[in-house]
Symmetry: C2
Subunit: 337 residues, 2 copies
């Protein structure tokens, strides 16, 4: 009995907004692992803004995806067969299986899930690249101190919602920027941010001025664009700006102008720093410990939005850019063991 | 016999380019120091891009200059009378006397010139805020390593020319960007930069690509604007961008768009960091020692352009923005002791 590997290929590069038509469906036989390889069954795929950036012709921090290849995607899976000395059948692993139900790997970029008393989906909503991005970006680059003011954009998103909660744990005044009253209510009322700004219905600069009476010490930037420009005039001396993402730019067909207030970085002796969490996965154990501990103590919460079936992955990705999803967006590809 | 204090006041704020008409001339009696004050005779005034930024209505890292007050300016002078316990007649000091031939001070912001075997003008062309800016910005923020590629803009300017030479001392490949063949020839042939790019007659991006075959590890930014945008696509992983100035923006009447390539900071895990040298003057002794040593060894050179007479200060300031001056621009206000 031949099993089927169901795949989404990158068929064309988006011109502006990503469309379902940029992907092509393919079914083929599940391959057999050779020496040094294992076969993984995908359980969950993580949908992230970075998926969009990968679809462009230009290399990013990873090479561009060649047209006609399986769409790149972060996933959790279970090893079904292994001829790799480091992995055994039954291992739960995370890495880049891509948008397919089965993946072969020589182990590059894969790691076993750390043992943690959390649901499997939490390895993407709380731990994994999401939680580590929030933890590293805020604590190592943002360097929050008790009493400082932290502003985070895409604050109801997977990373942003953790950043704000960790900021509260560190004693910061936390102001979140999100799109729509529902998201704002969640971060303000459920996650206990000090204030929420609805960028769709408020003047972000004026609202920031109101909610950050002591100025802004840290701006955790997930979006770039005009919101960064609204933040810059309000930063304090020695402010830190971890640059995590620029979702506002990813669908642009032409270069969009950057912040006109960049000279504020000089006036305020401020630092803006980009990072890619892949660089820091090897030293992630202490961060995982923090996140698991805070979660167990009820101090850190997450939400997931689960999309059923790999066939729905392209449509689900679109949600990220229209701001429709609430919580960490995941695709359930197959059942948990 | 009443001596005359000759002053330039800030009469109006520039709308775009600074004009001589923004200043007003006043003559009044030289004041007498009261208890806790000293009277200084200005010897040299330093003209810097920051003078322009100070003229705006908005505060920068220093408060805006009120209209009708003496124009703010960095200067070297000699104490003529002192009723201040920390300063004595005959002391050579640097600080902010402003554009006037005599200044009263309670000592705030003044320091005695460090003893150094250099000409008096070198306290502005090699040491002082200029040399310390180059030293701190490149070494503390830029963190140059042997074999790395350093790009510096306004490379024939007072700060930029020192930055490039210090970069060479640290083993970097140094590429300078300057306006006009004369300036380019100076930094390439006399200061021994590895390459010079004439931004007025070359495509900066293409020339950078040619002269930085290993990419750019450090960009010491004195200008902001389009040159920053041309640099960003070429930065290497973990690049550092000390933000020293944005002279391209200072005469803008409206916000000018920032770099559209800012997402490169994420992709390349790069850091962009502003600084103000005033924060670091208290710990400057080791840097002064370095600069004096390198100068004595013939490894660090500077040029000055000396304007005679405080009456010519406004016109001289204009040169900075048209790129006419070669070397550190100074006004000789009175004779050296």
């Amino acid at each position: 009995m031949t099993r089927t590997n169901r795949q989404w290929l990158l068929a064309s590069r988006p011109d502006g907004e990503v469309k379902v038509e940029n992907f092509a469906w393919r079914e083929q036989a599940v391959p057999e692992p050779r020496d040094g390889e294992f076969l993984l069954r995908t359980i969950y795929l993580s949908l992230d803004p970075t998926n969009r950036a990968w679809m462009n012709a230009a290399d990013t921090y990873l090479p561009a995806i060649p047209l006609g290849e399986v769409m790149r995607g972060i996933g959790i899976g279970i090893v079904e067969e292994s001829r790799h000395p480091g992995f055994s059948a039954g291992d739960l692993v995370q890495g880049l299986p891509g948008w397919q139900t089965y993946a072969l790997s020589d182990g590059t970029g894969y790691s076993k899930l750390p043992p943690a008393p959390v649901p499997l989906e939490a390895h993407f909503a709380l731990l994994g690249h999401i939680g580590l991005t929030a933890h590293y970006g805020l604590l190592e680059i943002g360097e929050p101190k008790q009493g400082e003011t932290l502003v985070v954009s895409a604050a109801a998103g997977a990373v942003g919602s953790l950043v704000g909660q960790i900021g509260k744990l560190k004693g910061c005044r936390v102001v979140g920027i999100a799109g729509g009253e529902k998201k704002c209510a969640w971060i303000r009322d459920d996650l206990r941010f000090d204030a929420a700004i609805d960028y769709r219905n408020e003047n972000v600069f004026e609202s920031l001025r109101k909610h950050c009476p002591q100025g802004i010490d840290i701006y955790f930037d997930n979006v770039g664009g005009p919101i960064l420009d609204a933040v810059l005039p309000l930063i304090n001396n020695h402010a830190r700006i971890p640059l995590c993402g620029m979702i506002s730019q990813y669908n642009s067909t032409r270069p969009s102008p950057g912040p006109s207030n960049l000279a504020m970085l000089i006036i305020r002796r401020a630092r803006m720093q980009g990072f890619i969490i892949l660089d820091h996965l090897a030293n992630a154990a202490p961060a995982v410990r923090d996140l698991v501990t805070w979660y167990a103590e009820g101090k850190l919460r997450y939400r997931t939005e689960m999309v059923e079936g790999i066939e729905n992955a392209p449509e689900a990705l679109l949600k990220l850019f229209s701001g429709q999803n609430t919580g960490k967006l995941l695709v359930k590809v197959s059942g948990e063991p």
